[in-house]
Subunit: 212 residues, 2 copies
């Protein structure tokens, strides 16, 4: 198997988690960590962790474990957080506002270059200039944008997605409660808040299905 | 296998998706749907869909398929969206604000009863009364709350989680970028925005790992 390809989605989804834990460990000044220690912190088995990291050639050393900083840097490269990304937000409602202000990205080179909304004139304020969605196509022709964040209602979200794909975007972070179809090999990651809340209510009603 | 128990997480995570699609189909006035048609809409295989629904005793009829309204109602019961839930939000920053105003729950009986924040006095406005987090414990003793939504920074999130668990909450919807430990069989569902964005940047850098 080619390293880094054909890796299952569940492995890929765990990488940012490892990165987050390593960041916390690194902040505490800890230099090395064993897969057993990582297991205690993450709740995953040591063998699972070793297997996940081996996919990417991140091998710990027998009797030493992993060098925290090295593994963190390696994961940063794999996840791609060591790079700069230009982003646009389409839909400046509640979620759009929250993401625009979200401090979670501030330490990274993830830069929101522009914000678009159908009702841009009403939404404009002193803090942020909101552009009309009608100008999105033109904007993408003139600017090099990596990520499009869709926070519009489900109606019209596919149309926005199409414009983003045609406009040379690389990835879409979709918050609209709809599954979008991308073109030109544009990758997509969904945050479906309603589905997440429904998963919670499922478990509230069937706690026997929940893994504590 | 006991129906509805020991069902894998990936099956459970697909149920809200089925529900969303059925809602859309129902809105169009369509009365029946085959697993093949559901397959075309959802992108999942017909056999996968049948298998998922069979877990819960939702059997379609040979040659007829599923009655849309019936299957939707059945799924609503399984996911638990047919019930009323009382919720509190702890942390009234950007995400807390967005969730408070989120229209996605408005059609459901998911009611935000109170909002808490450490800096409650600064955050209070005419629209919403923000209570001090110091009063959360007391509030939970006096009110019957089902769901606690945590949108605080990672620091202090576990402490809030403990108060919620002790306060008789049934489930936690966690937006803090940390994995929380619950007590008393309280179930938890995480929305880790940073991990989601990192998954996107992973795929931007390794599109060969993405399933289009």
């Amino acid at each position: 198997m080619k390293k880094g390809s054909n890796v299952s989605l569940s492995v890929i989804k765990r990488l940012p988690k490892y990165y987050r834990y390593l960041e916390a460990i690194n902040e505490k000044g800890i230099v090395r960590v064993s897969s057993k220690e990582l297991s205690q912190i993450t709740g995953l088995t040591a063998s699972q962790i070793r297997q996940d990291l081996n996919h990417y050639g991140c091998f710990g050393q027998q009797g030493y474990g992993y060098n925290v900083r090295e593994l963190m840097d390696e994961l940063a490269k794999i996840i791609g957080v060591n790079k700069e990304y230009s982003m646009v937000i389409i839909g400046f409602g509640n979620i759009g506002h929250a993401l625009y202000k979200y401090t979670g990205f501030k330490s990274l080179d993830y830069n929101t270059k522009a914000v678009f909304d159908k009702n841009n004139e009403e939404l404009a304020n002193e803090e942020v200039k909101v552009l009309s969605t009608d100008n999105l196509k033109e904007y993408l022709e003139e600017n090099n944008i990596d990520i499009g964040i869709i926070t519009t209602p489900k109606e019209g979200a596919q149309e926005i997605c199409d414009i983003l794909c045609e406009g040379g975007i690389k990835g879409i972070w979709n918050f609209a409660p709809v599954d979008l179809k991308t073109k030109n090999d544009v990758v997509i990651e969904n945050v479906h808040l309603d589905e997440s809340l429904f998963t919670l209510t499922y478990f509230i009603n069937k706690p026997e299905d929940f893994t504590f």
